[in-house]
Symmetry: C2
Subunit: 364 residues, 2 copies
């Protein structure tokens, strides 16, 4: 479909600013931008060259879920921009901004590996052309980024859907997400942008924003990537450790139990949520019966059965629309660890909020 | 610099949807779009043809101020899009949305005249290529447009500058303006967008929005266009009538008195605002002394001396930055009219809020 060189040739107009002092030294196979204008130059050139651009916004700490999105973006576009930016305005003042994993070197290594993989496909797929890793001064050029609910700044708000579900626990979250995505979309001007279904409310908010503001970028949703046992991939999973990781699977299992009800023909909220809640409380009872060195406790923030467009809770599933079942579970810190136990980054003392969801497709 | 045909040739790709049944019938010299996708097609073609696009957003009721902006846009771009849309979300629930003048036929006639004027310049200037006159369902595709302060929807908010000055009296105004402009900017994707200095706070809010969200459109400000005696052109002036129109000049005269102080070397707030306030109260006393058939009363909403970027009130003008002096005056309905008096649209019973401003340039 199209071809690209494994490394930039010296004829590339985009190499002018890159250090080429020692050509034997391995260069990145993509450019790294910290600011906007050189990326805009690249974007203009891609347009004139009739290339297509896919965009994968991330907060770094890349895992297989991100890589799957980038593969999808490369399959559907000649060029891919990946942004890595931990956006402060989507973390509430008491949330885990400071402990959010920052893993630049391993992120870059993973992206290099992906480009190697794409190169072996020899023109069957696109490639990662650039990473955008802006500073907060670039992303918030006039006022410091505020995480206060009543904080000042330039924001995009998408209500009422931003107040539901995750927004109930995290009141500034989707304001921060919509705001940073509007900025990134305007900077990158991609043909397509890719988001994972794991953050399902985020996908609903972003699609609504793109529709209401006529953002000229198509939003594509990639399926949730899971571990072999079904745990949804998440950058926060590194804080779990083995014990909480095993128990944390309860959320997925609860959602799967609900899905079985739907697949068996049930439509009533009580039937479907009943199945999920019964898994969640059974597992919690089992854990509570264990000793502090064996157990992992958790709280269920919510399990929701909602309309896929409005995120309004539904009493009964409309077979023409289907539904989204989603949930959030907060894994408490370990009470006591065993000698030699793998308790994860932060020694099991960081509480970890897990979210997951399944889409119930319409029954036509 | 470039040439354009006075009317579309039949080869124009943009004429496909226009009615050409009766070629003797006068066609518009521009296209009229009510929806987004055909305008996007036009925009893409302009890009491929390396044309440049200027955009003048309006709420219709076009006057010389708008026409000056369109002339500027045509002088600086090959093609100009003018939008005509009375945006409900920038009118508060108790404001004059319903009485805002709607004058489609005369607006179109004025734009036709402008294109005639541009045609006579034979390639020395660009032309109006399209009018965008969207429905509210197009501009607010998901939820009905809300003017409530706590109303739901997809909004852009720019604080704290939106709360100052006009925002104090009109709490939803700049949220509505920023929101509709973000939509329009994304739809039109102009190289340059043109706003009049008369709405100076609007220019500050829009420039801030473009900066913070990396909107890829340059904002250009056109000077305030005034009647022969100095009254700033405004779509709302048609409601004034002769008597209130004459007295309404008080605002401009107050600002000019302040400007004289600045030009004579004064920098202190008290000196500069003192001069303005003394004009405003002297004229009001003069009016109050007249009979109800002769006088026109008003209230001063504010007269502000502010920093040009933040709109913070200043105690003393920083000579390196200069300042903005701005004010708003509400002309009350006439108490009694005289037989045969021209009281303006609405018979002098519509109260009319006038705003105006002057920029004090930095003294280097």
């Amino acid at each position: 479909m199209f071809r690209w060189a494994r490394t930039f040739s010296t004829a590339s107009p985009f190499l002018k600013n890159a250090s080429m002092a020692s050509p034997s030294l391995r260069q990145h196979s993509f450019q790294v931008f910290r600011d906007v204008s050189p990326l805009r130059q690249l974007r203009r050139q891609l347009l004139l060259d009739k290339k297509t651009l896919g965009f994968v916004p991330t907060m770094g700490a890349l895992h297989e879920g991100h890589l799957a999105l980038i593969r999808q973006a490369a399959a559907e576009n000649t060029d891919v921009v990946v942004s890595i930016y931990v956006n402060p305005t989507q973390f509430g003042v008491n949330e885990d901004l400071s402990s959010y994993p920052r893993t630049w070197d391993s992120d870059v290594a993973k992206l290099e590996q992906l480009n190697d993989e794409f190169a072996r496909l020899e023109g069957e797929t696109g490639r990662i052309t650039a990473i955008l890793a802006p500073t907060s001064k670039v992303m918030y050029p006039t006022l410091p980024p505020s995480s206060e609910i009543d904080g000042d700044g330039s924001f995009v708000t998408i209500t009422p859907i931003s107040r539901k579900l995750e927004g109930e626990c995290r009141p500034v979250f989707f304001r921060g997400v919509a705001t940073v995505c509007m900025k990134l979309f305007n900077i990158v001007q991609a043909d397509r942008a890719y988001f994972g279904q794991k953050d399902v409310q985020q996908t609903v908010v972003i699609k609504r924003m793109v529709q209401d503001f006529y953002v000229d970028t198509e939003i594509k949703i990639g399926e949730t990537v899971r571990e072999h046992d079904g745990l949804a991939m998440s950058s926060r999973n590194v804080y779990l450790g083995n014990r909480r990781r095993a128990v944390g699977l309860v959320l997925y299992n609860a959602l799967k139990a609900a899905e079985s009800e739907y697949n068996s023909g049930k439509m009533a909220r009580s039937d479907i949520l009943g199945a999920a809640n019964s898994v969640a409380s059974r597992v919690l009872s089992e854990q509570q019966a264990l000793s502090p060195t064996e157990r992992a406790l958790y709280e269920v923030d919510y399990i929701s059965l909602a309309d896929p467009d409005t995120l309004d809770e539904v009493k009964s599933i409309d077979p023409a629309k289907g539904a989204i079942i989603s949930g959030a579970v907060k894994m408490a810190p370990l009470e006591e660890s065993k000698p030699g136990e793998d308790c994860g980054l932060g020694d099991g003392q960081v509480s970890v909020r897990l979210i997951d969801n399944l889409i119930f497709k319409p029954r036509a």
